[in-house]
Symmetry: C2
Subunit: 392 residues, 2 copies
C-alpha cells in the first residue's frame, strides 16, 4: 500500500462517515417526539417499524459520543448522544435493573432476552458520555452496566441455558464483547483496572476457541474448549472471529506492540480469512462448517454488511501493525468488494443483506440488528488507521 | 386435468413414496443401537449430527404407522413405527411430563422449548399407533399429549411469552396445528368429540387471521385479531397458510362438502397463492410482508421444501373438491417447479433449502427441522387424492 492509496482510503472513510453515513442516521433516526432513536428504516430512511432496539440505542449513543470525543466537539453530536443516553436510562431497564432487548416508540418494554449484551453496549455508551461530559453519574452507570453483564455471564444459571447439562457449551461472544467493552471503559473512564478483565478474556479465547488442529477460531466449544461434533459446535462465524482478531490487535498496540498478542490476532485473521473469504464470488461468508459439512443455517452463504466492516478494519490494522503487504492486498480485496456492493448510491448508507453473489436481498437500512454501529465504526477506524500510518 | 395426467400424478406420488422417499429414511434414519431415529443426514444419508429432534420423531412414527394403517400392513413399517414410539415414551419427557425439543443419541435431553409442538406430533403418532395395534395404552398417551398441548396453549402464562404485555399477540400456528392434530385423533381414536376442538380452531382462524382488507391470511395478530403494524405483524408465511387451507378443505370433505368451509379454504388458498407464488422465478416464497415492505428475515425469498409440499396438496385437494381447472393449473405449476428443483437424482429424497432461483443452498436431507414428514405426507396424500378422483 503506497501513500497515494492510503490517502485515498483515508478520504473515502472520512468523507463517507461525515457526509454520508452519519447524516443518514441523524436525518432519519432521531425520535425528537418520544425520545431515543428509531432504527428500523427503509432504504430511503422512512420508518418501517417504530420499535426501538436497546442494543442499537447504546451503540449509536456510543458512536456519536465517540466522534464528539475524538473528532470534533460538535454540540449537535453531544445533544444526540445525550438524547439516546436519556432514553436508555428512562426506558430500557426492568425493575431488577436488567436491560430490555426491544422497547416500543413510547419506551414501553416489548421484549426481554436472557443475554446481557444490551448492558455491554449501554456500558460503552455511558463511558463515552462520561468522557464527553465529565459527569460522574455516567461513569457510575458505565461501571454498573459492566458489572451487571459480568455478573450474569459469570454466575452459572443466572442466564437460563438454552441447552441442558448434557450439552454444556461456551460461546465466543462473551469474551469477545467483553474485551472491547473493557477496552472502551479503560480508555474513557481512564481506569487501567479493566486491563485485568481483558487479560482474562484473551486467555479464554486463546485457551478455548483457538483450534490449531482445524486452524480455525471456534464459535462454540465445550466448557474446557472441547470440540463439539454437532451442527452448533462445528459452526464458524468468520465475521465474528475477524472482529475478535482486531480487538486483540488493538490490545497489542495498546501494550507497546506486544508480540504475543500480534501473533494471536494475526493467526486468527489468517485462518478466518482463508475460511471466510468466498473465492468464487468474493465477500465474506456468514457461516461455515469447520469440517466443510453442510450447516443447519440455510442462509449461511449470504453476505452481510458487518462481517465486511470487521474484515476491513482487521486487515487494515494488521497491515498497520505488521507492514505485511499480504494484509494490504486482503484489505483492498474486501474494501473493493464491499464498496462495490453495499453502498446505496441513491439514498446513502449501506444495504445490509446481500445474496452470495452481491445481489440485494432486502433493501432496508436498519432493523433490530442493523443500526449505526459497524458501518460508522469502520469508517471512523479506517480513517484513523490510515491517518496514523501516514503520520508515521 | 384429464384422466391421463391424473394417472401420471398418481403413479409419480405412489412410486416416489414407496421406492424413493420411504426407502431413503428406512435405510438411513433408524438407530437400531440406541433407539429412535437419526434425522440429521447429509445428501447421501450419512449422519451429520446424532442429535434427535422430538418433533421429527413423532412425525416419522405417525407417517409410517399411517402408511401401515392405510396402505399395507407391512410388519417392517409397524416395527419401525413402534421403534420411534418407544423412544418417545422412554426419552422425550421431562419429570413434569412436558416433552423435549432435542435429545441426544442415547436419549439424554439436550433442549427444552417453551412451545408444545413436540406434544402435538407425539399425539398423532400415538393415535396412529393405537389404530395400528389396538393397544389402549397408546390411545391414552395420545389423549394425554393432546390435553397437555391444549393446557399449555390455553393457560395464559404457562408458555412464557416472548413479548411483554405491551405487545400481546396470537399466532396462527396454534389453531392450525390444533386442527390437524384433532382431525388425526378423531379418525384414529374413532372419537367424534374432537370435532368440537376443530370447530373452535377454525373459528379462531376465520375470526382473527383472515384479513379481507389485505386479502391475506395473517400469521400474527393482536388478541382480537388486530393488525400489528410492526415487522412481526406484517410477516406472512404463505406455506403455512396453504397448509392451513387444506386442513380446512379436508374438514369440508369430512362434513359432506360443507360449503362454508370450502369457501374459507379456497379463499385462503386463492389469496396466499397470489401472495406466495414467485411470478419471476416460480416456486413459493418463504416470507412476504403484507404491505409489500422489506421483511426483517433476510432469507425471505428462499424456496424451502415444505411450502411446496403443502401447496401441491392444497391445489390438488381444491381441484378435487371444486373441479375448478384453475386449481389443476396451479397444481401443475407448483408440482413441475418442485419436481424440477428439489429431488436429488443421485441419492434420492429431496433437497430442503434452495435459493430463490432454485439453486441448492445446503444439500443436506435432514436436520432438526427437516425429516420424513411434509415430503412423504405429500406423496401419500397426492396419491390418494388422485386415486379418489379417478375412482369417482
Amino acid at each position: 500500500m503506497n501513500k497515494h492509496s492510503l490517502e485515498h482510503y483515508m478520504e473515502t472513510y472520512k468523507s463517507g462517515l461525515l457526509e454520508n453515513i452519519l447524516p443518514f442516521w441523524i436525518r432519519h433516526s432521531i425520535d425528537w417526539e418520544d425520545g431515543g432513536y428509531t432504527f428500523c428504516l427503509d432504504r430511503d430512511g422512512s420508518i418501517l417499524d417504530t420499535d426501538k432496539g436497546v442494543w442499537q440505542t447504546g451503540r449509536f449513543a456510543w458512536m456519536i459520543l465517540t466522534l464528539y470525543n475524538e473528532v470534533e466537539q460538535k454540540e449537535e453530536w453531544l445533544k444526540i448522544g445525550l438524547h439516546g443516553i436519556d432514553f436508555l436510562e428512562k426506558h430500557c431497564y426492568d425493575e431488577k435493573g436488567k436491560m430490555y432487548f426491544i422497547v416500543d416508540k413510547k419506551g414501553d418494554p416489548i421484549r426481554m432476552r436472557r443475554y446481557v449484551y444490551s448492558e455491554s453496549f449501554a456500558a460503552i455508551a455511558y463511558a463515552a458520555c462520561f468522557k464527553a461530559t465529565g459527569n460522574e453519574h455516567y461513569r457510575d452507570k458505565a461501571r454498573e452496566a459492566f458489572d451487571l453483564s459480568l455478573k450474569y455471564n459469570s454466575t452459572p444459571g443466572l442466564i437460563p441455558p438454552k441447552f441442558t447439562e448434557h450439552r454444556e457449551m461456551r460461546g465466543m461472544g462473551v469474551p469477545m464483547i467483553g474485551i472491547v467493552t473493557a477496552q472502551e471503559l479503560r480508555q474513557n473512564l481512564n481506569d487501567d483496572s479493566y486491563t485485568e478483565y481483558i487479560d482474562h478474556w484473551i486467555k479464554e479465547i486463546r485457551d478455548y476457541f483457538i483450534n490449531y488442529e482445524y486452524q480455525a477460531v471456534m464459535e462454540t466449544v465445550g466448557p474446557q474448549g472441547e470440540f463439539i461434533d454437532h451442527f452448533d459446535g462445528r459452526l464458524l462465524t468468520p465475521g465474528h472471529a475477524l472482529e475478535a482478531a482486531w480487538f486483540i490487535l488493538r490490545e497489542a498496540m495498546h501494550r507497546d506492540h506486544n508480540e504475543e498478542l500480534i501473533r494471536l490476532g494475526t493467526t486468527m485473521l489468517d485462518w478466518m480469512w482463508e475460511i471466510g473469504w468466498d473465492k468464487e464470488y468474493g465477500g465474506i461468508f456468514y457461516f461455515r462448517d469447520v469440517l466443510g459439512l453442510p450447516v443447519q443455517e440455510y442462509w449461511h452463504d449470504m453476505k452481510f454488511w458487518w462481517p465486511h466492516n470487521e474484515a476491513i478494519i482487521a486487515t487494515l490494522m494488521a497491515f498497520q501493525i505488521t507492514g505485511d503487504q499480504k494484509y494490504a492486498a486482503w484489505h483492498k480485496e474486501v474494501h473493493d468488494w464491499a464498496f462495490k456492493h453495499f453502498p446505496d448510491p441513491d439514498y446513502g448508507e449501506w444495504y445490509g443483506y446481500l445474496h452470495r453473489d452481491g445481489r440485494i436481498s432486502v433493501p432496508l437500512k436498519g432493523n433490530i440488528w442493523k443500526g449505526p454501529f459497524h458501518i460508522p465504526r469502520m469508517y471512523f477506524m479506517g480513517w484513523k488507521i490510515c491517518e496514523s500510518i501516514l503520520n508515521k
